[in-house]
Amino acid sequence: MERLEYEFDGGAPVAPRNRPTLTGVLGSGNLEVLVEPADLGGRVRVEVQTAAVGFGAIWQAVLADVFARWQVGDIRVSINDAGATPAVVALRLDQALSDHTGGGA
């Protein structure tokens, strides 16, 4: 198990009244993503708990790409991962941010 933390510049703050959303399930090769509004001065904070140790740089790259595309801020993103591939991670994060903001990218 490894715990990783990241912060990104973010962008347009999401509505603080948005309810927390949970997307995906923690099955083998999959991940769950919890998105909550948080007063972070427009930034995004991400915490990853993963069964696969030693992939911090890949997480950094995938997450940076996702949040560069989404340009959302003031959210806390918590991820539980059971060995998902980068493609699955990106797909699930898009889905999670869409669920949370109630719209597409």
């Binding site: 198990m1 927390p20 949970l22 399930v25 923690l26 099955g27 999959n30 769950e32 919890l34 909550e36 708990q49 993963t50 069964a51 918590s78 539980n80 991962d81 059971a82």
Partner: protein, 283 residues
Amino acid sequence: MTSWLEATARERIAGLLDPGSFTEFVPPEARITSPHLAQLNQPAAFDDGVAVGRGTLEGAPMLIAAQEGAFMGGAVGEVHGAKITGLLERALDERAPVLLLLESGGVRLHEANAGLIAVSEIMRAILALRGAGVPVIVLNGGRVGVFGGMGIATCLCDRLIMSEDARLGLSGPEVIETTMGVEEFDAADRALVWRVTGGKNRAIFGEAVLVPDDIAAFRAAIRLDPVPLDVEAEHALLGARLDRFGAAEDALDIWADLGIETPARLPLLDTDDFLSAIEGKLA
């Protein structure tokens, strides 16, 4: 058609209840996770694999729990079990019907003692609801099926709604094969596994109401009037079943004995044709 089998626990709740009516108790953001998994290098889910809460079904208030089969096979640990027990006890306080959307391999081995005790607490809580005439309905349509202690708990409830793809049993076929040998149970023989544990065989014995793999079909089959528990009548029924079918080699022999024509075709029939084929021929 929205497949129950393919849906997650939360999608099943959303598809079953009136839109927007679900309120979760101890939700994922409360982060009440299993404290026992990290030391065994297992990631812990935010909801410990079960969502519990309340909502309405065609306007009627009810309580609901849904196990997530993709997380550790829906197995019951300390937190997971306590959420279900708490929900059942709340139902007794509120006299509210309960929908249990079960998908579980049984007790979670990583916290086996806590899980086993939790299942017995769930059983006690269901029995208290039966005694009070508060209905508990099980919906079983997931890939894992319902096995182990949750399979016993299922048979304590008022009703079981099940798809033909789902399974219900005590010991899983793989466990029986590993313990007793392949002659006792060939777990790789999928047709055999479904003849023993599948929704159709359970429907023939009157243990389950069979529906197609469709969330709307599950919803349409829900009946909320409590089923009075008559232990003497049940004892006679199970005794007769044991006498007549306890030594049967294969479910096919049982189905033939019941007068069902060409029983070998039953597994191939869709739900409607199957129900016509077994009409008036239940065990």
